[in-house]
């Protein structure tokens, strides 16, 4: 079966796999806030930090090579290029617009990187457990439903990518790639993709029901360990460091 390698969970023994999922989720939230509130210097440090995590994950678990990742997101990179150009053209001063577009694209790319880091090192079932544990004490919040929805979304995004590849290959095998009209091209892929995705979703829902699906299943055990404490320190240190950098740079 054809397969895109992004946003897939891969079993592994690296440090990112072993960090408590609750800490990883906090990390994601903090990093996202930091990314959109950073100066250039702070952004450079954040990028270096995220790239280091990416390399550590690759070295330890050998699961997402940087080259295959870039290859898989080349469509997204083109999209970022388009955003940058549109910003440049819609700005009064072209260069200023381009620079602002580049900064924005850079931030979006970092978001995709941290999304990849989270999904490739965290089992969606653990994310479900972590979200449920955090939310179930908050009154009036349907913790089970929210946790299940997040976990299912993370589980099925890569399946939609896989489905896209199959539909695209099926279209290309009957010379669909020769079509010049972009609208025809999009409808050739998009309509069957939508149809198969909905059918697949229905089948998976039936499979879940047939196995007694519950919003309150037995959760995975979660225990904080030494490396989680260290992660927590880094988690607290990064926003402080970035705040100081933003203030004094």
């Amino acid at each position: 079966m054809a397969e895109i390698e992004i946003f897939h969970y891969r079993n592994g023994r690296g440090i990112l796999h072993r960090i408590d999922t609750r800490i990883k989720l906090l990390f994601i939230i903090f990093l996202t806030i930091c990314i959109f509130n950073s100066s250039i210097w702070a952004l450079i440090i954040l990028t270096a930090f995220i790239l280091s995590l990416f390399l550590i994950e690759y070295i330890q678990s050998k699961i997402t090579s940087p080259f295959s990742f870039l290859n898989n997101v080349k469509g997204f990179l083109l999209f970022l290029l388009l955003i940058t150009l549109v910003r440049g053209l819609s700005s009064e001063v072209f260069v200023t617009g381009i620079l602002s577009g580049l900064l924005y694209s850079w931030k979006l790319f970092l978001l995709v990187l941290i999304g990849q880091l989270l999904t490739s090192t965290t089992d969606p079932a653990h994310i479900q457990g972590a979200v449920y544990r955090v939310l179930h004490k908050v009154p009036y919040i349907p913790a089970g439903t929210i946790a299940t929805m997040i976990s299912l979304t993370i589980t099925f995004i890569p399946l939609i990518f896989d489905q896209y590849l199959e539909v695209r290959d099926a279209a290309n095998s009957r010379l669909g790639n020769l079509t010049r009209n972009p609208l025809t091209k999009i409808s050739t892929i998009a309509l069957p993709l939508l149809q198969t995705t909905l059918l697949r979703a229905d089948e998976i829902a039936q499979a879940m029901e047939s196995r007694c699906y519950s919003e309150h299943p037995t959760l995975n055990e979660m225990k904080m360990k030494k490396h989680d404490a260290l992660s927590l320190i880094i988690l607290i240190a990064i926003p402080i460091l970035l705040f100081l950098l933003n203030k004094y740079s």
């Binding site: 079966m1 397969e3 897939h8 969970y9 891969r10 079993n11 089992d123 969606p124 079932a125 589980t155 896989d162 697949r200 089948e203 998976i204 039936q206 499979a207 879940m208 029901e209 047939s210 196995r211 007694c212 699906y213 519950s214 309150h216 299943p217 037995t218 055990e221």
Partner: protein, 251 residues
């Protein structure tokens, strides 16, 4: 030998889809404890729709189903735990991100203790010979392995009745043999087995009873050897050979 105590009783069951198609029409069927039942029929004969009722995935337009004398839909959670369904498309049955997580999905929903879940997962994966692949990604398994993973998923729920919807579709020779030997072994250790297939040559020798459906109705039922001559008339390929015992891919 068929035991006389019915485990499942389907009474006058009909299912009509919203577009007016009658998929199942006044079906009466009793399924006995520890029996090996084969349900056959051409495409669109209503076999899969009928089986989805047994798992509570579809509700009948009319009629009733009893599991050990209790209405199946009264306690749907218990019914789904007792009656495991292996889907035709094994890919659509995969929910977990690793083989062991997928197997644990059912027991986790039953809210069993973690130690019990781990014990059941290990036993189920051992039974289907996938224990060494417990950390693998299910989507990357072979067709036969995916089918065996689906079996492990329902074994871990401790289901008594196992329904296999076209279990040999899209499998190579070895895959069919592996899945078939698994099904035969599950029957041997006491599970009630229902196999839905139009490909009788692979499995007929193991069936104790054969039910043939067409246009949503049961048109024949009885011992496989008694129905051999009816198969071609019902749009089902008659397996080669004169004796039913030879109609298997397990030699």
């Amino acid at each position: 030998m068929i035991k006389k105590e019915p485990l499942l009783k389907i009474q006058d069951l009909s299912h009509k889809f919203s577009n007016g198609t009658v998929a199942v029409d006044s079906v009466d069927l009793e399924i006995y404890r520890s029996e090996f039942l084969i349900i056959s029929g051409p495409n669109g004969s209503g076999k899969s729709v009928l089986m989805k009722h047994l798992n509570g995935l579809l509700t009948p337009s009319s009629g009733q189903i009893f599991l050990e004398d209790n209405d199946l839909f009264q306690d749907i959670g218990n019914s789904r735990q007792q009656i495991g369904l292996v889907f035709q498309d094994a890919d659509s049955q995969i929910i977990g991100q690793t083989v062991e997580k997928d197997t644990a999905f059912g027991p986790e929903n039953l809210r069993l203790k973690r130690e019990e879940i781990n014990r059941r997962v290990e036993k189920a994966l051992k039974d289907v010979e996938l224990l060494e692949k417990r950390k693998h990604r299910p989507h990357l398994l072979s067709g036969g392995e995916k089918r065996r993973l689906a079996i492990a998923g329902i074994l871990a729920m401790d289901s008594k009745i196992l329904i296999f919807d076209e279990p040999f579709s899209n499998l190579d020779y070895q895959g069919v043999k592996n899945v078939l030997s698994q099904i035969v072994e599950l029957h041997r250790i006491g599970h009630t087995i229902i196999v839905i297939t139009h490909d009788l040559g692979k499995v007929l020798a193991h069936g104790e009873r054969l039910v043939i459906m067409n246009n949503g109705r049961i048109i024949h039922r009885g011992k496989p050897e008694d129905l051999l001559c009816q198969l071609e008339n019902c749009g089902i390929r008659r397996p080669e050979g004169d004796c039913v015992e030879s109609m298997t891919w397990l030699k």
